[in-house]
Assembly symmetry: C2
């Protein structure tokens, strides 16, 4: 498994970031490598980190031109279709191996897109499924994946309404990738967007992080280290509905983001940038299962950068944060929800973690991904 | 390039189809090979022919279970979202080579999905784009494809609103696949569906067939035969709007289908089956460019099975067929539109072609595809 992103990181110049707020610890800050220094795709371009962001900014947006309407593409878009507000999101899945503890590429593909739609507060309704299969793939493998997709869709309350299948003659016959696209209806009064995040907002994390990444890693060739960690893949639309349905009303929830590729850190960094706010959280408030913490320690990873498939971060009005937190803890996918930090006026665009010894450190968007082909 | 579908066809038993109407010529009829005789994916499973249909019927639908709602997935679905009727469609593109006369994978991906949405009479509004790239792909290649997508989207009047990029470490570094999913708004009074096709309806073809398939084939390794045929890739939403906008009203157009994988023959066969009607057309009425006819003759192909990317077949009330035809001919993408046949009471589910010498032959859904990786 090529860890190209790590190679790239080690060859990149390390510079002090310009324009950071005074007093911010810039240790470990990596200067994003300009796209023009690459002439080929590397693994990190698909990792949801800086290289992905650069590919969007320097290649996709200029090349799409007016068709992209100048907007930075996000995980999900809001469309005005007639009198309806519709959430619309797509994701491709290139997981290796296809099957891992707690799930397979099938439930990832359903839950991943359901969750992107749910993060806009929408009720997911319908999904499309587009498969690219390699010649020689065993039908039994495809059948197991598709069966899992059917069950996951039923569990998430979405219909699989249209699809496509293509076959390639490249590869070794084990390849199965799937792209799911979802639509959902955004209820009246619900408006979730980075632009609604305000200083003072509480940051709530819905549960323990790192399970999915470590579950996949545990079955990767050469990385077996015997853990009983299972992927946390789950549909979050029900949890979101519970959060929006408190007596405080949906308006107190300002923004949601599921913490997938790049982990919780990537979600917080992206939102700090797009909302133009600082985010500060307390490291010891972040729930991490002990086996995940051990595996991360063994592998030299930070759990905040490891992928999840059933966790979200929420930005909530401080006056209603406890009420929303209670609603989350009453839901089966939010038992371990915790307020981990808050939005601050200082250091806009920067995420800082307060460590156990009272220091703060800057949390940076990873360059690529710690583990390719994870979702 | 593996032509696995041809191998499969040659090993399949040739039997007389049971239950065909008396008097139908069953020469050349191939018994669909049951899925249970395969245990692995072959190229034809992605070809849009019988093998694709079997994969849907015998694997996808049973495995999806209730999530598929018992409905056979089609190229595009109609969703009721609030008070809006929305067309929703997805397609993956695995074209080899990426660039060919008249276009590249980028405009195919935009136009293909725009057209699937337009075939429901919808006005295409927004598309998502999901890329799966191989490590080592030249950014310049990606850039050219993406630029083409931007121009094609602008030409088709759609916005590219959300997307995803994943990178794989398999393959030789030349791989680029893209999945586009589109949504469009279906105007009031527009209802296009196979169930509206009636005996007596005229069958209108929007222009000459086979250009795309022959254009791609002409640049395939080992298949160069020097022709100036360019792909017909084009967005058909404007042509559809012209057809629905005649004084006769949108109701006279009963059903539309773009003739892509599997060619015009696959579109007619699928609609004859799903509408439960017979279709009869006159071979010499079908426009085919002379270089395409020559190339097909040289390769032993029938143009009716060769892929198109900018042609549709329409089923229109006979009293309004001339008016709709005139509207098509006034549109730049319909100059060569022609009434090629009609829907008949006889032989439900069967398509027959009337040949130049007055005979009729049964037109069958191809088993796989004549040319893999064409769209």
């Amino acid at each position: 498994m090529a860890e190209t992103d790590a190679d790239v990181a080690s060859t990149g110049p390390v510079e002090t970031q310009q324009g950071t707020a005074p007093g911010v610890d810039v240790e470990g800050w990596t200067c994003p490598m300009p796209l023009r220094d690459h002439d080929r795709i590397v693994a990190g371009h698909g990792g949801g980190g800086k290289l992905s962001a650069e590919l969007i900014e320097h290649l996709f947006l200029p090349a799409f031109g007016p068709a992209a309407n100048g907007a930075t593409p996000t995980d999900a878009a809001t469309l005005e279709l007639g009198s309806s507000r519709v959430a619309f999101s797509t994701d491709s899945f290139v997981v290796d191996p296809l099957f891992f503890p707690g799930g397979n590429i099938g439930d990832l593909a359903i839950n991943g897109t359901v969750n992107d739609v749910a993060m806009l507060g929408a009720i997911p309704l319908a999904l499309s499924t587009a498969f690219i299969l390699e010649e020689g793939l065993e039908l039994a493998v495809l059948g197991r994946v598709v069966q899992t997709m059917g069950r996951a869709a039923t569990a998430a309350g979405v219909q699989l309404v249209t699809g496509d299948t293509k076959v390639t003659d490249t590869g070794d016959g084990s390849g199965l990738t799937v792209t799911t696209t979802g639509v959902g209806l955004i209820p009246d009064r619900v408006e979730l967007a980075p632009g609604r995040i305000r200083p003072g907002d509480k940051v709530i994390l819905s549960g323990q992080i790192g399970d999915h990444g470590i579950a996949v890693m545990s079955v990767r060739e050469g990385l077996q280290f015997g853990t009983d960690i299972a992927s946390d893949s789950a549909p979050l639309a029900g949890l979101v509905a519970a959060m929006l349905g408190t007596a405080a009303g949906p308006g107190v929830v300002h923004c949601l983001r599921d913490a997938t590729r790049g982990g919780m850190a990537a979600s917080l960094c992206e939102l700090a940038t797009s909302a133009g706010v600082g985010i500060s959280y307390v490291e010891r408030s972040v729930p991490v299962a002990e086996p995940v913490r051990s595996a991360c320690s063994f592998l030299g990873l930070d759990p905040i950068h490891v992928a999840n498939e059933g966790k979200l971060v929420a930005f909530v009005d401080p006056d209603a944060a406890e009420e929303v937190l209670d609603a989350m803890r009453d839901h089966e996918l939010g038992h371990q929800a915790a307020i981990i930090g808050e939005v601050v006026d200082d250091h806009p665009g920067i995420v800082v973690a307060r460590t156990g010894i009272g220091a703060t450190r800057v949390v940076d968007l990873p360059l690529g991904e710690q583990l390719p082909r994870i979702c």
